[in-house]
Amino acid sequence: MLKTTVVVIGGGATGVGILRDLSMRGVDALLVERDDLGYWTSSRFHGLLHSGGRYAVKDKEAAKECIEENTILRKIGKQCVEATESIFVRAPEDSEEFEAEWVKSCKECGIYAVPMSMDEAFKLEPNLSRKLLSAYRCPGAAVDGFRLLWQTVASANKYGGKAKTYTEVIGIETVNGEVAGVHVRDRWTGEEYKIACDYVISATGSFAGNVAHLAGIDVNVKPSKGTLIAFNHRICNHVVHRLHPSSDADIFVPHGSITILGTSSIDSAPDDTSSETSEVLDMMNIGKVTFENLYDYRILRVFAGTRPLYSADPNAKGRSASRGFVALDHAHDGIKHFMSVCGGKFTTYRLMAEKVCDIVCEQLGVNTACRTAEENLVDGPSDDLMNRAKAVFPSYGAELAASRLGNEKLERVIKRIESRPETKELVCECENVTLAEIEEIASEPSSHTVSDLRRRTRLGMGTCQGTFCAYRSVGAVDKDDMPWAKDTVFLFKEFLETRWKGIRPVLWGNMLRDIELTRAIYDAALNLSGVDEIK
C-alpha cells in the first residue's frame, strides 16, 4: 500500500505550493489531482502577477503581501514570470479623488507608482485610448500559470515530493477521529486504491466544499466565476489596469504571445467554466475605455475560472467577499489532521503555502523553517546549454523552449534534436513548438491527451487554435511506445472540442473564418464525425 506523511489534494497553485514547501522541509508528501495540473482556477485567470496596486486602497494587508510575493516570484520563478511592469490609467469616468488616495496608499504599501505624462504613456503603449487622463508605472508582471505549477512540482520532485494527476479522491478514511488515509481512483485505468497518510490537506479551491463533504464536513466556499478574453496578439506590452476601485474587465495582461482581458464576477457552481457571448460583449464595452479600438482586435477565445471565495458567512457573495485565504483546521469539526485551504490569490501562492505548512508542521512535530523563498523553482539554462539549443532550434524556439521546459527537460529535448535533426520541425507554428518537445512531454507518464501536451507546451494556443497542430500532434504521438495514444479519434475530439468550447461564444469575424477552415479539415476532409458514405 502507498504510504506518505501528507496527502495534498488539488493540483492548483495552492496545492503545488504546499507540496513544494513540505518537501523542502523534509516532510514526505504526495499530491493528488483529479484532472491535469492547473486544469482549473490556477490557469483560468489573467496570468497577472499583482503588484498589489489593485488592492492598495481597499486592503493594505493584501497589497503588501502582493508586492512582497511579487518580488520573490520574480526571483525564484524567472522562467514563469515576464517582468513587463504595469501601467495604471485613469479614464474620464474614474474618480480623481480615488487617484489621490491610491497614490498615497501605494506609497504606504511600498509599491512604486511612478507618474508619467500621457505622451510617455502613449509612446509606451500606442494603442491606449487618447481620452485617458493619467498614468502610473507599477511593478506588475505577467506569470504563466501552467508553467509555474509544473516548475513548482519539478522543484518539489528534487526533495522527494510527488504529484499524481488524473487521480481522484473518492474517500477520506478516519480512525478514531483522526485521518488515516485517502481512497483514490485512477481516472484512466479505473483502478481504486488507498494512500495511507497522517495528514490530509485539501487545497481544492472552489471544490473545497465537495472534498470536505467526503469526510462529512461543511466548508462554505462561494465560487465566483470570472470570464477572460484572449486576443490573438499583444495589444500592449505592459499590464494595463484601470485606476479605479476594482471592477469588471479592467485589466489587460500581455501574456506570452497574446493579451488577456478580464474579468467578470458571477456566482457559480465550482465547475462552471462556461462563458456567454453577452458577458464577452459587456467586458468588451468596458475594455474599450482603455483601448478604444478594442473591437478591431481579433479575439482568439474566451475561458472562465472560478474564484474560491471563502466566507464564514454562507450568504457572502462575489468580489466583496474576502480575497484573503483561510486554513480551516477540521479538528474543530471533529476530525484531526485534516485541513481545508481556500480563498487566496495566485500571486501569494507561496506565502499561503508557507503559512499552511507552518501550522501543519507544528502539528506533525517538524521544526524545519520554510525555505521556499530562497531557492529558484528550476535552474535557468546555462550559456552552454543555450548555445547548444540555438544550434538546433530555430532561434525563436530556443528561448521559448527554455522557459517552457526548464533546464533538465531542455537538455533532453536538445539531445532528441541532436540525434534526430528532423524533430526540430515545428508541430505548432503559431507558438513555435517542435516535434522534439511534443515527443518529450508525450513520453512522460502524466500525459494522457493532446490537451495535456497543450498545457505543457502551448501547442494549439495560438492563432489557428489547433487547426494545423491537431493532426500533426496526433500523428506524432500515435506510436507503439505511447499506449495512451491508441484511440486517435478520441484524441482529436478531446483536443478540438476543448478549443471549440472557448471559441463558440466569440464566433464572429476572423475567428469564424478560422473555425470554418478547421471544420473543413476535420469534418469534411478527415470525416472525424464519422458520417457514413451514401451507398
Binding site: S257, S395, L400, N432, D514
Partner: protein
C-alpha cells in the same frame, strides 16, 4: 511588437491557412526560408518574447506573392520587411553590397553626373566580375548587373519637344529608368504623346525606397517617402495623374507607403496612380487608345512581374500588345523570375533566385520567342541572364508599332 491598430498592418486577419507557403517561390526553392506565414503573421506574435530574431527572415525576397494569394488580405511581406529592418538594427549586414544595392540612386547619380563615368563604371563591373571584386563585395558573379547609361532619362527628357494636350500626367521614372535604361522613359513619352497625353516630370522626386525597404534600410525609405508623398499629392491636386513604368516603384508609391508609413495625402494621390500600360488600357476602355499600328511579326513572350500582379490591375500588356497587327505574343505564366529587385544580385541569394526563375527560363527558351517582354527592369535582366533571350519593356513594343 505590440500590434498597432492605428497602423495599416493587420496580422490579425491571418487564419493560418498556409496558402502563402504553398505559393512562396523562395520556400519552394530553399528550406532555409520557413515561409511567409511563419516569418510574417506567426512570428509577429512572438517577436516581443525573444531577444533575437531568426536570421532566416533575410531570405524573404519581398516578391509579394504571399500578399497576392492571401485570401484574408494580410500584408505578409510588409510584416517580413518590418521584421527584417528591426533585425538589421542589431545585426551586421551580410555584405557591403546590401548598402550599394539598397541605395542604387546614389550610385546612379554619381555615375551619370560625371562624363564618361558610365563607360568606366560598366567596364568596372565587367573587370570587377572577372577579377572577383564583386564576389568580395557580396555580389554574385552569376547575376547580370545593370549597366549605366551615359545620359540620364531626365537629361534626355528635357530635350524632347512635346505637344501640349489637355490630358496631363506626371511620370515617376524611378532610378532604373533614369540611370540604367533611359530609353524606356523616352519610349513612354513618345507613346503617350501619340495618345494625346502630355508628360511632365519632377526633378525633386527621389528613389521610391523599394530597394531600401527590401535591403533593411527602412529609415532611409521613410525619408524618401515623406518627400515623394508630398510632391505626388501636389501633382494630383493640380489635376495630374501619376504614371510609373517600373512596377516596383508603382507598388511602393501606391500601396507599400500606406502599409509602412503614416504621411498625409497618401491614399488621395494613390487613387490617381497608374502603371504606364494600365493607363493606356484604361484609355482603350474609354475608346481613346490610338491603335494606328504598323505590322510587327516579331514573336514575343510576356512575363508578368510579381509586383504588377500584386497591384491587382490584371495584365494590361496582354490586352494592348495583341492589338498590334501580325504580333505573336504569349504569356509565360511561369511565376516569379527570382530576381526580386536587388535580391538575386546578392551572392548568397543568387542560387535561390536562379532556381526560382528556372521555370520561367525554360518557358522562354522553349517558346523560341525572339524577345521577352516585361514591365520590370530587373526582371528583364534576369530573363536575359537566365534564358539568353533579350527582353524589352512593352512600351518599347508599342513605340516600334507606332513607327516612332
Amino acid at each position: 511588437m505590440a500590434i498597432n491598430k492605428h497602423h495599416a498592418i493587420d496580422p490579425d486577419k491571418c487564419t493560418a491557412c498556409t496558402i502563402c507557403i504553398t505559393a512562396c517561390p523562395v520556400t519552394a526553392a530553399t528550406r532555409k526560408f520557413r515561409g511567409p506565414k511563419m516569418t510574417g503573421p506567426a512570428l509577429t506574435r512572438l517577436r516581443k518574447l525573444v531577444s533575437d530574431d531568426d536570421p532566416m527572415l533575410d531570405y524573404c525576397s519581398n516578391c509579394k506573392t504571399c500578399d497576392l494569394v492571401c485570401p484574408s488580405g494580410v500584408p505578409i511581406s510588409t510584416l517580413n520587411m518590418l521584421a527584417k529592418n528591426e533585425y538589421y538594427k542589431t545585426h551586421p549586414r551580410k555584405s557591403p553590397a546590401d548598402d550599394m544595392l539598397a541605395h542604387s540612386e546614389k550610385m546612379g547619380k554619381l555615375i551619370t553626373s560625371i562624363p564618361l563615368a558610365s563607360t568606366f563604371a560598366n567596364l568596372g563591373m565587367t573587370i570587377g566580375k572577372s577579377v572577383g571584386m564583386l564576389g568580395a563585395m557580396g555580389i554574385s558573379s552569376n547575376a547580370k548587373m545593370p549597366s549605366y547609361a551615359s545620359e540620364s532619362f531626365i537629361s534626355k527628357f528635357k530635350k524632347i519637344k512635346q505637344t501640349s494636350y489637355q490630358r496631363k500626367v506626371v511620370f515617376f521614372s524611378g532610378c532604373f529608368i533614369n540611370y540604367n535604361q533611359p530609353e524606356v522613359g523616352v519610349d513612354m513619352v513618345k507613346v503617350y504623346q501619340k495618345n494625346k497625353i502630355e508628360v511632365a516630370i519632377d526633378e525633386n522626386f527621389v528613389c521610391c525606397g523599394s530597394p531600401m525597404v527590401a535591403g533593411g534600410y527602412i529609415d532611409d525609405a521613410r525619408v524618401n517617402a515623406a518627400k515623394n508623398a508630398k510632391l505626388l499629392k501636389a501633382w494630383v491636386d493640380k489635376g495630374y495623374d501619376i504614371i510609373t513604368a517600373c512596377t516596383s516603384c508603382g507598388l511602393m508609391l501606391k500601396q507599400e507607403y500606406q502599409e509602412l508609413f503614416d504621411f498625409e495625402g497618401m491614399s488621395e494621390y494613390a487613387e490617381h496612380m497608374y502603371d504606364s500600360v494600365e493607363y493606356l488600357a484604361k484609355l482603350h476602355d474609354e475608346g481613346e487608345f490610338n491603335t494606328e499600328f504598323a505590322n510587327d511579326s516579331t514573336e514575343y513572350i510576356y512575363h508578368a512581374p510579381c509586383h504588377l500582379k500584386v497591384q491587382a490591375i490584371g495584365r494590361p500588356s496582354m490586352e494592348l500588345l495583341p492589338l498590334v497587327p501580325g504580333i505573336k505574343i504569349q504569356e509565360a505564366d511561369a511565376g516569379c523570375c527570382g530576381i526580386s529587385g536587388s535580391y538575386g544580385f546578392k551572392a548568397d541569394k543568387n542560387p535561390i533566385a536562379m532556381k526560382v526563375g528556372a521555370k520561367l527560363f525554360g518557358k522562354i527558351k522553349d517558346s523560341h520567342a525572339e524577345l521577352g517582354v516585361c514591365e520590370c527592369g530587373t526582371c528583364r535582366l534576369q530573363m536575359e541572364n537566365g534564358s539568353g533571350v533579350p527582353a524589352i519593356h512593352p512600351l518599347t513594343v508599342l513605340r516600334k508599332a507606332y513607327g516612332l
